[in-house]
């Protein structure tokens, strides 16, 4: 089991260990390109358009001879496309897509283990256990509340009243919370898992909390960013979502505040992997190497406070705090093996 938070604190240790592994036969070293690689690769990604575009541009500045064909869609669509195409993979690389999804692909034996150059810089909590890893994380995203301030005031509350999950149970908020459906949204799922982890996954306490939250929920929708956008446009008061869309709306001028719950956030990461197929395109490896380079990380970092090297700067909502500390301890193995039953239980209680 990986209890993430503990590991990141042991960063130096793992760094050393990884460094040794890398140089003693993991093979990553052989794959560092000696001559410029060229060709055309297909990359599936769930990274937001704005970001993905800039990243590919920067990549191409270094590798003008590699054409990157990008399929950009939601995590769900990307994953199901990959699964549906399993018989004859169309993608060379899956980039910036939920690790929980990649674990599904891993279970289907669709990922080719690959250790990208610079893997040693990645915190252990952000990569697959196996060696070489089947997937490598780049950024994490985490549960956040996006709160529409004028609407909140209209209810007689201030932003200081919304600090943590339990504040969402306030009677004033009845019918004023939108949450993503965990069955169709990765954010919805990580939030539900986060609540189960925080309130106790082995007792019923997590579900009992959600029962009470359910009383206040206006609607469950099929999109993770949707609740943030709805809070931004005043369609709801509190959108349970993740940081990025909330902060984006805030910067665009929406009257919202982004709240990271005090007890910590459920989270997932966007990770990269090589798709298993008969012939691996060398350019795919070039891309994956670059995708965890400092340069790429810096661009991820503009939008995501948490990057997998753990070297984020100062961020809105995380003043004086390392954003990584916001992430709760989380057991991916437990989640992966209980995904179906969690969703079935959620569906039984709140679906339809």
């Amino acid at each position: 089991m990986i209890h993430a938070k503990g590991y990141w604190k042991a960063k130096l240790v793992s760094l050393a260990v990884l460094a040794v592994l890398l140089f003693t036969g993991c093979g990553a070293g052989d794959r560092v390109e000696a001559s410029p690689v060229s060709g055309e690769i297909t990359v599936y990604t769930a990274i937001e358009n704005v970001l993905a575009g800039r990243l590919v541009e920067t990549f191409n500045a270094h590798y003008p001879d590699i054409t990157v064909n990008l399929v950009r869609d939601s995590t769900g669509v990307i994953t199901s496309r990959l699964i549906a195409e399993a018989a004859n993979p169309q993608a060379d690389v899956v980039w910036g897509t939920a690790a929980s999804s990649l674990m599904v692909l891993e279970a289907m034996d669709m990922l080719e283990p690959f250790a990208p150059t610079g893997l040693d810089r990645i915190l252990p909590m952000f990569r697959a256990e196996s060696n070489p890893p089947t997937w490598v994380g780049i950024t994490a995203w985490e549960t956040a509340f996006i709160v529409n301030l004028p609407e909140l005031e209209a209810l007689g509350l201030t932003i200081d009243d919304i600090r943590c999950y339990v504040d969402l149970l306030r009677p004033e908020l009845q019918g004023n919370i939108i949450m993503p459906n965990p069955a169709s949204s990765g954010t919805g799922f990580l939030t539900v898992v986060g609540l189960l982890e925080l309130y106790g996954r082995d007792t019923d306490a997590g579900w009992e909390f959600m029962d009470r939250l359910h009383e206040n929920v206006q609607d469950y929708i099929h999109s993770g960013a949707g609740p943030a956008n709805m809070a931004a446009t005043g369609e709801t008061v509190v959108g349970i979502s993740f940081g990025f869309p909330g902060i984006s709306r805030l910067q665009e001028g929406a009257p919202v505040a982004v709240v990271f719950p005090e007890r910590g956030s459920g989270w997932d990461m966007e990770a990269n992997a090589l798709i298993r197929q008969d012939e691996i395109h060398p350019a795919a490896q070039t891309f994956l190497n670059w995708a965890i380079s400092d340069e790429a990380m810096a661009i991820y970092n503009e939008a995501f406070p948490i990057i997998s090297t753990g070297e984020g700067g100062s961020y809105y909502g995380f003043e004086g705090q390392n954003p990584v500390d916001q992430l709760i301890d989380k057991c991916f193995v437990w989640i992966a093996s209980n995904r179906e039953s969690i969703l079935a239980e959620w569906n039984r209680r709140y679906g339809g």
């Binding site: 064909n69 869609d73 169309q90 956008n229 446009t233 001028g253 679906g351």
Partner: protein, 547 residues
């Protein structure tokens, strides 16, 4: 067998084979999964039992039926009244009203839902005026569907009422029949088939649409969102296939009640008889004028809301006018995705029109082969009931198989074109069929007697005479391909991104202003295409009259 039959037989077989490849086999590839577990083992009806044992899932079925029924009742009623106003009253601006009624089919359904939110959401224009309705959920889905299906119902009634036999009414008039009796004894029997067909079309469209419920449906689950959740959320393709089969319920129902033949025969209505002279009635005209104005006003408000979003910096918080929203992020495909859409729609329209035309031609005009032609006609109405997503997923399973000889098409524009051609096949088929039925049945005989090959007759007579129907089909394919999302969301290729998908991405990412701007571009190009169509038809008619 006579020699000429061989060519016709081959063509008929070719058309059927094409349909088997673009519809039957892919569907089979998908639906086989409804009876398998995720390891591919045959499990019989187990998935269905699991589906109906889960109340949260099976409720989606009833929700869908509920939404579709209400949509049907409203769309058919409103569509009929609107068509009635334009054919049986003396209101002014009929041409304006006719074009305005088509607005909803020029933009993706997802945009209707967004428009509704800006009117009826918490911050909505109408909500702010004090009318608060719970737009997320049943009402929102149903309203979106009514908006989208209304033009279809209207068009069907319009054609029927326009070509109705005025002499019947004159005869009734001379016998002193009361207006209400006229309605029940003449008008209703006259539109009976259209009524049934319009109801079927509206029901099916509402039953299978995905764009609106995903945006405005909230927790109100319908089959289309269920399919989406099963496939993209749970990666459960087997259950997805189960939902997919349930989405075919309207089609199956149609076969059971034998509506199919009626729909196929609808095209047989032809221009005949004398045109109806509309009597004077001020009260009636005022009522209908108000009715039509109200509907148009509603549509214009939706477009207005879209325009406001598109031309302001950040609605509703920063209302500074800007054109910046038309500078699309290059990653959504940028403005390139818009041109890709136009390109894809042009290809779809060109290939699709040719395919539908030849298909309808062999189904209608060949001699003999009754059985094959019946199958061809049966195939032709099925796509109407196929949700775009079902087509998309089944295409992945079928075409993305290295052993499939058609594998090369996967990952190309070709697959998008194919999905679109299939998705929107039925309506153009009926249009072309109607046009072909109006042609003299003896053209073929005359041409045979002159030893002219059929293709010569086809190119020199059949095609030129069907030009209006061909143009209409072309336009329909173009407009539909411009706005479709669900048919291609699983199929669009990295090298070729399209505008409608970009809109759904922009919406999901909260870039509403760019989504609105892109929707306006789509609306604009569709309106332009429609205008070109109207002008061309006008010119053709004028030339024929002069000639």
């Amino acid at each position: 067998m006579r020699g000429k039959s061989k060519g016709q037989f081959l063509l008929l077989c070719l058309m059927l084979a094409a349909f088997v490849i673009i519809m039957v086999l892919p569907l089979f590839a998908l639906f086989a999964r409804a009876f398998q577990d995720n390891t591919g083992q045959f499990v019989g009806m187990a998935n269905y039992r699991a589906y109906f044992a889960n109340p949260a899932l099976s409720r989606a079925l009833w929700n869908t039926i509920n939404v579709s029924l209400v949509t049907t009742v409203f769309s058919v009623t409103l569509g009929f009244l609107y068509a009635y106003a334009l054919t049986r009253t003396n209101i002014r601006f009929k041409r304006f009203f006719r074009y305005m009624a088509l607005i909803p089919i020029f933009i993706p359904t997802i945009v209707h839902a967004v428009g509704l939110i800006s009117l009826f959401g918490r911050q909505g224009l109408i909500t702010q005026m004090g009318f608060d309705i719970e737009i997320f959920g049943f009402i929102g889905i149903t309203l979106s569907h009514i908006i989208f299906t209304f033009p279809q119902a209207f068009l069907m009634f319009f054609v029927t009422l326009e070509y109705a036999d005025g002499r019947l009414y004159e005869a009734a008039e001379s016998m002193g029949v009361k207006p209400l009796t006229k309605l029940f004894k003449i008008t209703l029997p006259e539109i009976k088939f259209t009524l049934i067909n319009a109801a079927f079309v509206c029901f099916t469209l509402a039953f299978t649409d995905f764009g609106a419920p995903v945006v405005i449906g909230g927790g109100y689950n319908v089959l289309a969102t269920d399919l989406f959740v099963q496939i993209t959320g749970l990666f459960n393709f087997n259950m997805g296939a189960v939902v997919g089969t349930l989405l075919l319920i309207p089609a199956i129902l149609a076969f059971i009640v034998n509506r199919v033949t009626n729909i196929a025969n609808m095209g047989a209505m032809s221009a005949k008889s004398t045109k109806l002279k509309v009597k004077k009635s001020l009260a009636r005209d005022i009522f209908f004028f108000a009715f039509c104005s109200l509907i148009v006003l509603f549509f214009l408000t939706l477009i207005g809301a879209l325009a406001v979003r598109a031309f302001t910096t950040f609605f509703p918080f920063n209302m500074t006018p800007t054109l910046g929203n038309f500078q699309f992020s290059p990653v959504t495909g940028g403005v390139g995705s818009f041109f890709n859409s136009v390109r894809m729609s042009l290809i779809t329209a060109t290939v699709g029109t040719a395919f539908v035309f030849v298909y309808a031609y062999v189904a209608e005009k060949t001699d003999g082969f009754e059985f094959l032609r019946k199958i061809a006609k049966l195939f032709s109405v099925l796509p109407l009931a196929l949700p775009g997503m079902v087509i998309g997923v089944s295409y992945i399973f079928f075409f993305n198989n290295p052993n499939n000889p058609f594998n090369f098409a996967f990952g190309t524009v070709g697959i998008l074109v194919m999905a679109n051609i299939l998705s929107f096949f039925s309506v153009p088929y009926l249009t072309i069929m109607g046009a072909l039925k109006k042609l003299d049945r003896e053209f073929e005989s005359v041409s045979d007697s002159m030893s002219a090959p059929r293709w010569k007759l086809f190119t020199m007579v059949t095609v030129p005479l069907s030009l209006p129907a061909i143009l209409e089909t072309f336009m329909y394919y173009f407009v539909s391909s411009m706005v479709t999302i669900s048919a291609i969301v699983f199929l669009y290729t990295p090298r070729f991104r399209v505008a409608s998908i970009a809109i759904s991405h922009m919406h999901a990412e909260g870039v509403f202003a760019q989504a609105a701007a892109m929707s306006l571009l789509i609306l604009l190009v569709n309106v332009v295409v429609r205008l070109i169509y109207e002008i061309t038809i006008h010119l053709i008619k004028k030339r024929r009259k002069q000639a």
